[in-house]
Point group: C2
Chain length 517, copies 2
């Protein structure tokens, strides 16, 4: 695709600042839709004046106060790229209908805030995952499904999680799966939580202009060795039960395994991730289609989660689950992938079929991150057409899908010099870079003043003088709490959701039940 080619990493140009729409700085809960906001000069000055002169000052200060935003008053004149229109009016465009042509350079503020919003759905998978090998719930989601967003302080998200997704940890992905150090009395020996399906509530649906289904896949926060383990080989999707009219459509076999493997002995992974997500999407599309809602399917993921997002988006479209059941009638729900630091997933034929199915994908990457460069370092979408044709049959000829939005962490004045590849790959860092991105060669200026402190949630990437502790995201006392009798205990978690009772019924309707029992 010409578009993908044109989205190669930009050269490191000199800077000309251009800024959209300054209106009043406002409280922005994580997960809320952010129009491109830049505090006007007056607001900035007052923020600076609020800096505590003495540590005994009772006011609060934050890292943002440290920044000299250096705004030019003239920048406001550079214009309102959104043209004042709302997400409800523009959502199809923002969702990739036109493959984001004209929205990336200069950066469209509404698209920017939506990229951050979908990235935060992926980030939620990290923030909610129980990594602690001493927890009996290691490998599960720390929060109950019904309180998912509120537990994460994302009350403003406006979505409801309808299903948790699990995968079997029998697959060899040591840095992705986590299991308790001690096997006894753990929630599960075989399963790991790998994401969720959520749907917008009525209020948010009105704001978004359609009922939005979000599928968010967990990836890997640090430790990039998994990618080396994965550089395995391409395998036809049909070999793992994913339909395709073209037998030459292939994907990396590790991703396919992760997506399709199951363990009949395990309550949580007796259905594959694939079966879980397909049945849930079928159910929700039918439910909201029957209610007359316009529906969109938005699949998001970071790193390995991006691979699952691309694969599952393909599967959903190939299975026709974005259409009302029965095949007839109404328009298909548009399917878009919001990918962050994702590796390549399949071959050129996979990409071709992905495009034919009308799936849109936007891939946010940091040019210094190696993960998006693999697999397929030698043979990929960047080599000349002729070489690619010749290499098509090779098991290591990969192709990216969709449109790339290349960011450069060296543009952010908040980030320090480091050689740590896990910093380059960090999702929160990408969201920070998005907030400062205004187009190729344009100066880095925070558009919504999204809190840069979030970058250090699980990295050591902010400059020291901002005084934000590295890796600050942690539970009080590692989840140990004081019981009524004074003892320190790990609180037992509430009932952990496994699978809705209609899963098998829905699988039968999808023609997939034969695989189950």
């Amino acid at each position: 695709m010409a578009l993908a080619q044109s989205m190669l990493p930009p050269p490191f140009l000199a800077v000309a600042a251009i800024q959209p729409l300054p209106h009043q700085r406002q409280t922005l809960p994580i997960g809320a839709v952010r129009p491109g906001i830049l505090p006007p000069r007056a607001a900035k000055r007052s923020a600076k004046a609020r800096l505590p002169s003495a540590v005994t000052d009772e006011s609060l200060s934050s890292i943002i106060s440290d920044l000299e935003l250096e705004l030019d008053d003239g920048m406001a004149a550079a214009g309102e790229l959104s043209g004042g229109s709302t997400l409800a009016e523009r959502w199809r465009e923002i969702h990739g209908r036109d493959e984001w042509v004209g929205l990336l350079d200069p950066m469209d503020p509404l698209l920017r805030s939506e990229l951050i919003r979908y990235g935060e759905f992926a980030q939620a998978c990290y923030d909610a995952f129980d990594y602690d090998p001493f927890s009996r719930f290691c490998g599960s989601c720390k929060y109950s499904r019904r309180k998912f967003f509120s537990s994460l302080g994302m009350d403003g998200a406006g979505y409801e999680v309808t299903r948790y997704l699990y995968a079997t940890s029998n697959i060899n992905l040591p840095n992705f799966f986590r299991t308790s150090r001690v096997g006894a009395r753990t929630w599960s020996q075989e399963a790991n939580w790998i994401g969720y399906v959520a749907v917008s509530d009525d209020e948010t649906t009105a704001r978004l202009g359609r009922r939005d289904l979000v599928i968010a896949w967990r990836g890997t926060v640090t430790r990039l060795e998994w990618i080396a383990d994965l550089m395995d080989f391409l395998r036809p999707v049909t070999a793992v039960g994913i339909p395709s009219p073209d037998a030459a459509v292939k994907v990396e076999s590790g991703f396919a395994d992760l997506y399709t493997d199951k363990d009949p002995t395990c309550r949580f992974c007796k259905y594959s991730a694939r079966e879980q997500v397909l049945t849930e999407v079928r159910k929700l599309v039918e439910r909201y289609g029957a209610a007359g809602d316009e529906v969109s399917v938005s699949v998001t993921g970071h790193s390995l989660g991006s691979a699952l997002a691309i694969l599952s988006a393909y599967d959903i479209a190939e299975m026709g689950l974005n259409k009302a059941s029965g095949g007839g009638g109404g328009a298909a729900a548009p399917v878009a992938v919001f990918s962050y630091s994702g590796p390549r997933v399949g071959n050129g034929r996979f990409k071709k079929r992905f495009d034919e199915l009308g799936i849109k994908a936007i891939r946010v990457v940091n040019v210094h991150d190696t993960v998006p460069k693999v697999p397929g370092v030698l043979f990929n979408e960047r080599v000349p057409e002729l070489v690619r044709k010749a290499a098509e049959g090779l098991p290591w000829s990969y192709s990216h899908v969709g449109v790339e939005l290349a960011l450069d962490h060296k543009r952010s004045p908040f980030l320090k010099e480091t050689g740590d590849p896990s910093c380059f790959h960090n999702l929160e860092a990408h969201l920070h870079l998005l907030d400062g991105y205004h187009g190729k060669g344009r100066r880095f200026v925070l558009a919504s003043a999204r809190d840069p402190a979030l970058v250090n949630k699980s990295s050591d990437f902010l400059k020291d003088h901002h005084m934000v502790p590295p890796f600050w995201r942690q539970d009080e006392n590692k989840g140990m709490t004081r019981a009524h009798d004074g003892r320190w205990v790990q609180r037992n978690r509430q009932e952990i959701d496994d699978h809705p009772e209609d899963t098998h019924h829905l699988l039968r309707r999808l023609g997939l039940a034969a695989e189950n029992n």
Copy 2:
């Protein structure tokens, strides 16, 4: 002293269990006085029955449920060593009047619970200290003085902190002092919080049988390199302004510096730790003496904090501050040191003078911990009298003070095999060992069922199968909190106490004011 000699580490004998006083298991907040409690068989069985059969059980379980206490019903008959008498009746004995003769083997339950209680006052210094180099308050106490115990969940302590103690961090003790990674806007560049003075409230005073002043000194949690740095040389106490009728009374110079150094430019350490503690003790002894209270002075500390405890107890007694002012009249308040894993502090003459002053010290050690064996590895109180006399003039001839209570971490079935010296040295581990200690060669059985989970607060010492995370004591999000505007900030601390206004006046009365300005 004959007593100190007789308290050498016991041989690893076979076990005969003897147990005091089983009454009902009860809620025991940390810091509460614990009579020697052992749950009766029925209580134990029901605790075991409460073990969650499934992780979805909503009940709480704790590590204690894991233990087979293996009680013999006959053990109860072994008797109630406390003889049913109360702390109010026995406090002088427990406080060391008779140098703990007859209380250590078998272990007196009341003494055991008091050793744990004073150890917890020392532990509070660790739990309250801000170690985070990214905090603007690094090196200070995390909690305000008036809410000290409640912030630590020690509401039941029954003491009120009357003063925080600071030292100048200009001294070369890199693992003791902590300073912010970034100098600007920190609470202090020169000071570190090193402990506190507290006094028992009326209710607790009634229970204890006297008004108890506690002086607790912070030590070093991990990193034992400081002890190597300190193996410096002995120095006459008079050289640093501590009085002594015997010019040959010497202490390790590093401890003396830490205790007496100050920095006139610093709000928090313009008075030395010595000046702070002496003026506070004088004030409190006068206040409560005038009110007709019997008063005791209890000095506690772990590791380096033990050295400060011994040195300050000596100083208080030598200065006569435990007596009502004017020198005349009433009896002196008894001064006792509760020392945990402490090194040697001074020479033989220091010990001699310490004894002459009537100060009592009990030193709880783990026989596998090296810290109590230094300084003075070659010449110390254990070498024959003749050698000691000959070595007396050497600058590396040290002597322990007081009575040693030697514990052995290998006796606890909760602790794993490890070669990590910081585990052997850990204060919480000592408190756990105390709770299981019943006398030389007697079986390890938890007397009060003090929660073994506390051991892993800042160590990795519990057996893995107890499923208590190592180093679990940590603040939620490293103290980052969400402000009203959604930003993540380090909360500014309330006003940090420096020094009472009467400090200079009291110093003048003590004849020490000439040193100040």
